[in-house]
Assembly symmetry: D2
Homo-oligomer: 361 residues x 4
Amino acid sequence: MSNTFGQIFKITTWGESHGTAVGVTIDGCPPGIEITENEIQFELNRRRPGQSEITTQRKESDIAEILSGVFEGKSLGSPIHISVTNEDAKSKDYEPLKNIYRPSHADYTYDAKYGIRNWKGGGRASARETIGRVAAGAIAKKILKMKYDLEIIGYVKSIKDITAKVNTDTVTLNDVEKNIVRCPDNKTATTMINKIKEVRKQGDSLGGTVELVCRNVPVGLGSPVFDKLEADLAKALLSLPACKGFEVGSGFNGTKLMGSEHNDEFYMNNDVVRTKTNNSGGIQGGITNGENIILRAAFKPTGTIIKSQQTVTNDGQEIEFKGRGRHDPCVLPRAVPIVESMVAIVLLDHALRQESQNQFI
Amino acid sequence: MSNTFGQIFKITTWGESHGTAVGVTIDGCPPGIEITENEIQFELNRRRPGQSEITTQRKESDIAEILSGVFEGKSLGSPIHISVTNEDAKSKDYEPLKNIYRPSHADYTYDAKYGIRNWKGGGRASARETIGRVAAGAIAKKILKMKYDLEIIGYVKSIKDITAKVNTDTVTLNDVEKNIVRCPDNKTATTMINKIKEVRKQGDSLGGTVELVCRNVPVGLGSPVFDKLEADLAKALLSLPACKGFEVGSGFNGTKLMGSEHNDEFYMNNDVVRTKTNNSGGIQGGITNGENIILRAAFKPTGTIIKSQQTVTNDGQEIEFKGRGRHDPCVLPRAVPIVESMVAIVLLDHALRQESQNQFI
Amino acid sequence: MSNTFGQIFKITTWGESHGTAVGVTIDGCPPGIEITENEIQFELNRRRPGQSEITTQRKESDIAEILSGVFEGKSLGSPIHISVTNEDAKSKDYEPLKNIYRPSHADYTYDAKYGIRNWKGGGRASARETIGRVAAGAIAKKILKMKYDLEIIGYVKSIKDITAKVNTDTVTLNDVEKNIVRCPDNKTATTMINKIKEVRKQGDSLGGTVELVCRNVPVGLGSPVFDKLEADLAKALLSLPACKGFEVGSGFNGTKLMGSEHNDEFYMNNDVVRTKTNNSGGIQGGITNGENIILRAAFKPTGTIIKSQQTVTNDGQEIEFKGRGRHDPCVLPRAVPIVESMVAIVLLDHALRQESQNQFI
Amino acid sequence: MSNTFGQIFKITTWGESHGTAVGVTIDGCPPGIEITENEIQFELNRRRPGQSEITTQRKESDIAEILSGVFEGKSLGSPIHISVTNEDAKSKDYEPLKNIYRPSHADYTYDAKYGIRNWKGGGRASARETIGRVAAGAIAKKILKMKYDLEIIGYVKSIKDITAKVNTDTVTLNDVEKNIVRCPDNKTATTMINKIKEVRKQGDSLGGTVELVCRNVPVGLGSPVFDKLEADLAKALLSLPACKGFEVGSGFNGTKLMGSEHNDEFYMNNDVVRTKTNNSGGIQGGITNGENIILRAAFKPTGTIIKSQQTVTNDGQEIEFKGRGRHDPCVLPRAVPIVESMVAIVLLDHALRQESQNQFI
């Protein structure tokens, strides 16, 4: 397995969904940064199960404990270790699933690859693994804010075919947190929430997209050619459970434009080089150009549904199977802080790399 | 900069577009593999400029020379070094561009980040850098074919709003190479070719998507959680010049399905676990499940157009600028072997990782 | 900081000496291995403070808890997280040291580099950090034993100028554990123990060397050119606190031999290629040749002494300073399991790499 | 294989001793540095075969060509590719060795590991691989000199039991280059040279040690816990052919001192924290303290001797074998620039890492 992400701000997550605990070790956090458990908890609460009527009702308080790396309230430069104890691990719910490969879950592939699997939940394939990412992301976000006043704002852009209208220049965290679906377009949010409730009743599930904007981005983040910023962002997001697609700037729709429509013309604004349009999504040649970074990630509908499906067991029997237990009818609202966290981690990692080149001579 | 890709089958590319040479060093190629310059040349010819009337007319023979790592026709296990001399480097064409930031190119961001830039062409941001990737990809492709009979077939799926119909189960390399646009749907290919010719005359450019299928994929490739196969594929493709999006399986369209429509039910086929549908695109939980891998990459319209545009110089003057020189009106036909190469490199890298875990006990 | 070691069997240690806990996350442990907390505890007990009258009297039970990665007694392939709670953290002992740079400790350099320091003990520079290494080493040792019957036996070879005679072909763990100084030459061990007791009374400290032999080493471990086995072993050991030197095979003394004396002639033994002598220490060209690996590490005398010394404070005052508190008069006996652990981790890491190359075709 | 070294200033060497060429790709060189082929050539000439009557008489001009990464005399931040064509590859000399495992060479282990071997010379195990290291080291040395006025001075400290007296505070490059054995103690140098000539006549070979001092070292280089500076230095030097030992500061001899003798007391010198003695060798807790770095590396006697030896063939026959051809009777004089290069690469890599932490807040 490969449980470490980042080159300088490097996170290692550990823990299975129904094990004793889950957590993260952050190596490479700059020293002298004020860090509190509260700041981390704020973000964990945004991803926590049971936070609203449209998420899973699984109860986990997800309390973050910092076990190392912070001394008298400040980072030491040494590894910051954050641990969250698992509470509501109803392994009994999973007992009947012990030998069953749930459709569109990782049960089969984990068994095939490793020859062993923690069947008491999704193990490492569970989104519970993302707790460590969000804890680390909270710290990354704070440092970026402190150093650059950089803002990272994610939100639900679409659920199924319901699409929000959002102004990327002005949207705020408050706008996003105003409703439980984390869509800053309030009217559309209501439609989304109703849709989720309806689909939950049907025992079915929904997918959608998260859009994210970064503002006040310094020029020069990104490390061509293989660690182009968009490449690392794509990897970061595609490493999330249920993510099936990534695009930056104009993305897939941009392929339908002519070059003359797509090109972002430069102009000068008070001695700063700016672009008139932003089809590039703030990144050119793998390096930020100072415009807003804009990206989108696609999340498939939740695999667990309360409907009868055909599947097979680990000894090759075909059976009929019906999911049960507490699940998210739609992961999108909880995906928002997770996407933000991964983006923050990538940006901070590149900011730390960037400095090393920039300031040497 | 970051010019190395891969964990075990590790490639390092080097060279600027208008420097002396470009190339690649491959570290971690298994020993004892038969490797010829001809096999590499075959793939380089597919990406070569001047190969048809719809690509750039720049003349480069792009001859691959193996300088190390192969002895008496076989790989030694030591680094395979492949070099290609630059021939048609008309730096004079770039002289007027010395101080100009071309819109939607990397001129500005490179200057901002590094404080210096090889203005005789795109330097490292040029697609010329991908020669090394294609050379390495040729070797990766061969090894995957030898070991698993694995096939990697890419093709142009769309140009602007012209979209091909392709059967991923049956499409062959021959189908792809039948026409100069590398679209196996012949009728649509003709439309695409005409469109490209028309747009070239206008001095404008086009974008599109490459779709790719891998067949005969072994079960178990991919390394959760951060090196999920789709994450590494996304990074590989987003690291290509002009790539703005990636999706696997159902991708962005999959977000519009219900869970009950999207889930891939399992069944048994002669003792092999299979899925009835393939919305997962052959990857579940970051690990291949043996179904075809299906993915798509979005390429924006070429930045260079022969039209007047507003831009700025490196000393902050706003000017009008009109591209000239030889450029691709549409990179898609030449992108196909490049996308295939990156996919091959990722798959082989994971195959080599996979073995280390699988066969240890 | 850089708190991760290894390429495939990758360990990340965390925790300061007087923080809440210390531990390790092991990524890349092959799946399906039986692992118990008892096996880990066995090795931790060998490095534990207070284990005998010649070590520090600090009381720490150092109980290992596995929080993830092991399911129903077997490794899952996912990260194995092991945590040890700090118990006897008498930070009060350190209060007077808050502003003092202890001679030949890392107080000054940590402060200079990071601008902040956990002065309640040595922080990350403390040998307490090695708990994570020993826990990981216990697992590595077990896997090597299972797979190859490989034995790793370390012992105290010298303390000050008292040097033991040890037969590397026959020495056993039992021989080593027979006395509290971990020197298998019993008579010399007694001299060493008396010397340590005498020096402790004087408030002074001693250094020495650990020698280590690996038997039943498979041919082919090591990855030239930069990851030669001896290079990775040297790095592993020099990363230990207080280690000032490393040598393999003939080492420094070998520089005094003629080539004709030093060369290890080959011969055949039942179809196996063997060498008559072993000045190479079991490694040639960075790769094991099947002979015993033999190496030595030099440890300087403990920095903490109960004698008056000149030093400075963090605000630039020169002062006189006298150590106090509980310290090891000689780290050698406790260093033995630590050295063994690092060697085990390096060997297993290379064994896992090796397989990936060897078995691919 | 593993042919890349470094985290930020990252070198990848390639090429076999009797292949077409050898070289290096340097990734991560800061942009804007003036770099000339002459500066590189200066160091290559110091390691070149045939440079004096006491080295091998093999004739190689070893001309460095920069193929990328330098533009108008300055580094671009992109990979610097340096290539050296092999000239005097008398493969015929090696024809009789095709099936023979030379004692204390890597022929057997390479064959055992990779199942294939370039028998026309030592392949990757040849010291010819170090050309790339020296080329990269020349650049690293220059940058360190420019930025810190840092000096790296290596020299032959001993050959067999002939040991030089050298003042590490005052020794200069000129002192070292004054004689062909690169020992700044002129009288001892003469003894060494005579000894080498004598031993060459006998067809035998000699080993020895290189000592190295770095002066004007900035405080704060080194990245605990696993990338302690001494750990990375040890790895760098043990990765050199024929190196069997490494020590820093007091090293192995320091193990014979009492703590009260070994500790380096601090004092203030014009507001700078200094130590009275330097048993630490300039590194404490893995981080430089501003004192001179002092280290030593042990090189075994050259494996190739013109004497009859017992050995075996690759099909298991025992035979008598006598080396021939042109070889170094003692590698020490040529090892000096190689050791310096590796030290420079490690220091620059850590300097670049260091900046990223230090200057972030």
